[in-house]
Structures are given as structure tokens and as C-alpha cells.
């Protein structure tokens, strides 16, 4: 093989080419460091669009298990979107148990305190018996909220070390112009995997595995002898951990069903070269047989854009060996049955294919836990995996936290 087979390492001499330790993927103490040094400090994609909460009083609740927090995102009567902790300031009861809806305000079911949809405390039951309640300062505890291209993010740091805008700056050209506003939620999925979040995510950061893990589900795309491993031509690694990887798929014969689906809309596997106008916010123009871009926001969420669809996903860390993979798939607003039927095809392909990945990840995680190997070997095509371990250890160190205490 010539050096053209390994174009990416040379662009990133700082992250090396050697074996990478498995410790960060299997060590429970390392996970504790990640929780404090990474998860608690980042902007978290809520997998929620601003337009999901169009009216005053619309709210959405997400529990972020790894940080033990529950966050309410709510549009106030003043039209502003806010994020607040889902905790009553009286004695700490969980305020809301539904996962969303519309409310004028929130009443706690422990002693009946009432908060408006801007988070202010507006009513205290039997208030006369309290001593000097500082009501203006007893609203729901605030959480930093910001939006980027309509995506709602929160940050749980006291003072975020970076603005959302700055943390997304790498994507201003590559992704920002994508026509997100023309699309709506087509399907949403939640998968529970018994594996570390990184082990789970790593299979979603390279195309090298497709020839094996997806040999059934995308078999029609794997028959090009010149390109059996779909080696990516574009991998961008950013200093703050963000990444963008372009995936291409060789021209392939459509199955009878994909033919039907493609006749009525875009499909997951029928890439952007197929007589489509250039799609802004993608790498389509520069990549032959471009199919989609995986855009990874460090540490664990993505906004992946294709020819006529996008999906947002997150590998929510739960414990060192449990991850929830959540995926929301967006397509142009279906105005007819035909469009809906067409979209169903791609939804099912992606849904089934994700299950193939997650099965492999669970098996791999178990194997790593056995301690049989202490490091993994990464090719130039897997440089995004290397980059992720590099970033994680930059924040958390290369030593197991358990070792520190010995």
C-alpha cells in the first residue's frame, strides 16, 4: 500500500499512530472523571428543535441521568425559551413527571407551590407561616440554554467555559447552511446498550465496519470491488474534539423496494449524486458518490446530514458500561401518503442497521472488560476513534482514577 492509503495521520501528527489504551472504555473510575471533567462542562444537545415548542407554555423535560439532573425546557408567556431544573425550591421535590406538554405554570404536588412558565415563584400555599421568604429569588433554578440553527442545547456549568456559538464554530461552513427548517421529525428511537459510551459510539465514527457489520442490511452498496471498505475521503478533526466524516456509497442497483421508495422521495442509501441539486451545508460537491456527512460534536452527539434528510443522535452515557443511543430522523414535511410511505423505508433501514452496530458494541465491550487485550489498533480510517480517545484523555488523564488512590 502506498502512503495515499493513509492520508489523515499526516494531517494530525500530534495524535500519533500507535496502539490506544482500552482503559478509558472499561474503567469505572475513569468514567467518574469523564462525568466531572467532560459531561458536566459541555453544551448538551437536547435533541429538541425550537419549533417543537412553538407556543407559550409548551415544555419538554429531559432527564440527563449521568449528571443526575432533570431539565425542563419551556417557552414562557414572554415568548422566550428557558431551561430550568426540574426541582421545587421549597424542599426539592421533582416538579414535573410528564415528559412534555403545555402549561400556564407548574404546581408542585408536595405542598402546592406554583411557578409560572418563566420559572418565577408565583404562589406559596399558607404563605403566612413562612419567615421572610425571598420570593423573587425562589424561582426554579436556571440552566444555561442556547440554540444553534434551531437545535436546543443546555449547559450545566455554573458559567459555561465556552459559548455554544464558539463550540460550534467549526461547523459554520460545513453544516450551518443545511436546510434544517424544511424538515420535520419522521421517527425517534431509543436503544439501551450494555457498553461504554465510547465503545458504542466508535462504530459510528468510521465506515470500515460496514462490509462486515452491515453485510446484510446494505449489501447492495458493498459490491464495488475497487472500494470494498468504503474508505472515507474526508475526515476533519477539530481541536475541540468535534469531527466531520463524509461517507460515500458506490452506485448500486436498487432493490424493488428501494426503487419504490426512491420514486417518491430521498432514501438513506441513495446518495446525493443522483441527479440532485447541490445540498448546502454538506460535503456533497467535493466527494464522488457522496452519501452523507457524520458531524460529531464532542463528546457524544451528532447531526448527520444526507441528500434530503438528516438525523440527530446521541450516545447518552449512563454508567461506565451502559449507554442509551437516541436517534431522531428528519425528512421533508410529508404532504402526501406517498412521501410518508417512502420515508418509512429509510427509517426502517436506519433502525435495523443501528441494531447491528449496537449488538457488536455490546459484544466488544464485554470482550474488552475481560482484560484480554490492553490496547486497540487503529487504522488511518479509524482516526476519528483515535482522536476521541486523545481528547478524552486530554481532559481526564491517561491514568485510571483508581490507580491514583492506591
Amino acid at each position: 500500500m502506498n502512503s495515499n492509503a493513509r492520508p489523515f495521520a499526516a494531517l494530525h501528527p500530534d495524535i500519533g499512530t500507535g496502539p490506544v489504551s482500552t482503559m478509558p472504555a472499561v474503567d469505572p473510575a475513569f468514567f467518574e472523571k469523564e462525568r466531572e471533567h467532560i459531561f458536566r462542562k459541555m453544551w448538551i444537545n437536547m435533541i429538541l428543535r425550537e419549533e417543537d415548542l412553538p407556543n407559550a407554555g409548551d415544555y419538554f423535560v429531559r432527564d440527563i441521568e449521568v449528571l443526575d439532573v432533570s431539565v425542563i425546557v419551556v417557552r414562557g408567556d414572554d415568548g422566550k425559551l428557558r431551561a430550568v431544573h426540574n426541582v421545587c425550591p421549597h424542599r426539592g421535590n421533582r416538579l414535573v413527571r410528564e415528559d412534555g406538554g403545555n402549561r400556564k405554570g407548574f404546581q408542585c404536588d408536595f405542598h402546592g407551590w406554583v411557578f409560572d412558565n418563566q420559572g418565577e415563584l408565583v404562589f406559596v400555599t399558607d404563605e403566612q407561616r413562612f419567615h421572610d421568604l425571598d420570593k423573587p429569588n425562589l424561582g426554579l433554578a436556571k440552566v444555561h440554554l442556547d440554540t444553534w440553527r434551531g437545535f436546543v442545547y443546555v449547559n450545566l456549568e455554573e458559567t459555561p467555559s465556552q459559548t455554544l456559538e464558539a463550540s460550534m464554530a467549526d461547523f459554520n461552513q460545513d453544516l450551518k447552511p443545511f436546510p434544517f427548517e424544511n424538515m420535520v421529525l419522521a421517527g425517534r428511537y431509543r436503544y439501551e446498550a450494555k457498553a461504554n459510551w465510547k465503545t458504542t459510539m466508535n462504530a459510528f465514527q468510521e465506515s470500515y465496519h460496514a462490509a462486515f457489520v452491515h453485510k446484510r442490511s446494505v449489501q447492495q452498496c458493498l459490491e464495488d470491488d475497487a472500494d470494498p471498505y468504503l474508505a472515507s475521503h474526508r475526515i476533519k478533526l477539530q481541536p475541540n474534539g468535534n469531527q466531520s466524516i463524509s461517507v460515500h456509497l458506490p452506485p448500486h442497483e436498487l432493490t424493488p423496494t428501494e426503487m419504490i421508495a426512491y420514486g417518491m422521495g430521498a432514501t438513506f442509501t441513495q446518495g446525493g449524486d443522483a441527479d440532485q441539486a447541490a445540498i448546502p451545508g454538506t460535503a456533497q460537491e467535493g466527494i464522488e458518490n457522496w452519501a452523507f456527512d457524520l458531524n460529531i460534536m464532542f463528546p457524544f452527539s451528532r447531526i448527520n446530514v444526507g441528500a434530503g434528510w438528516y438525523y440527530v443522535d446521541a450516545f447518552w452515557p449512563i454508567t461506565h458500561d451502559r449507554t442509551v443511543y437516541e436517534l431522531a430522523f428528519y425528512f421533508p414535511i410529508p404532504t402526501s401518503a406517498g412521501a410518508m410511505i417512502s420515508q418509512e423505508y429509510s427509517k426502517i433501514v436506519l433502525r435495523d442497521l443501528s441494531r447491528e452496530d449496537l449488538f457488536t458494541n455490546e459484544v466488544t465491550h464485554n470482550a474488552l472488560r475481560s482484560g484480554a487485550i490492553k490496547s486497540i489498533q487503529l487504522s488511518d480510517q479509524e482516526i476519528a476513534v483515535r482522536h476521541q480517545y486523545e481528547k478524552v484523555t486530554e481532559f481526564c488523564g491517561t491514568e485510571s482514577a483508581g490507580d491514583d488512590h492506591e
Binding site: Q219, P256, T257, I341, V349, R351, R355, L358, F359
Partner: protein, 119 residues
């Protein structure tokens, strides 16, 4: 979920398959996993030539105004997409070597909500 009143005129011959007309993606996936490969193949073959016809027929209504009597046709076309995966790729009802379906939750998208809220 399933209408007992029969299918529209041009699709009477699909009536034996009305039991596949689930209104949610979750319901359709679970039915697929419970079916045998023979049943799935039979359904796939019956619907393959009809999916475009169903789409064309339903084109006369916006998604949120499809009459109740017509909805089973839409659901059957959506179910066809489940069975296509089995017939064209997996050769069995479930995904081989995959995370178990009991570990997945499926939520409705906008279109599914529109269809199921109306009529």
C-alpha cells in the same frame, strides 16, 4: 387499529391482509417480529405490486385528512416496508446478530401523529 368495514373498491383483493394494518411503527415492527418468514414473504409478494397504486390512490387527500376507511391501506403500505427488509436483506423476520428488539423504544414522528389524530 384494523378496520373491519372492508377496503376501497380497487383494493378488495388485499382484504385477507388487513390484519397487518397497524397504525404505529412500533406495532408494525412487533408484528413483523412475531410473524413467520412464510407469512412475511406472502405479504411482501401481495403488496409489492400494490404499494405505488396505494400511494397514488391516497394522493387525493392531505395526510391529515385521510378518511378512516382509507387508513388501513396506508398502514398496509407502511407494513410492506417492514417485510421488505426481511425478504430483500435478512431472510428472516428479525435482524440477525442485532441488539434485541426488547431494548428499543419507538416513538411516533410527525406524519404518524397527523394520520392518527385525524378522522
Amino acid at each position: 387499529m384494523t378496520m373491519s368495514s372492508g377496503l376501497p373498491e380497487n383494493f378488495k383483493h388485499l382484504e385477507p391482509y388487513q390484519g397487518w394494518a397497524h397504525s404505529t411503527e412500533d406495532g408494525r415492527m412487533r408484528q413483523r417480529l412475531e410473524a413467520t418468514m412464510d407469512e412475511i414473504t406472502d405479504y411482501y409478494r401481495a403488496l409489492l405490486p400494490e404499494v405505488n397504486n396505494i400511494a397514488n390512490h391516497l394522493q387525493q387527500w392531505p395526510l391529515d385528512a385521510i378518511p378512516a376507511a382509507q387508513k388501513p391501506l396506508l398502514f398496509m403500505a407502511l407494513m410492506f416496508m417492514e417485510t421488505a427488509m426481511c425478504v430483500e436483506f435478512f431472510h428472516e423476520p428479525d435482524v440477525p446478530e442485532a441488539l434485541g428488539a426488547e431494548h428499543i423504544e419507538i416513538y411516533a414522528g410527525r406524519a404518524e401523529q397527523l394520520v392518527n389524530q385525524s378522522g
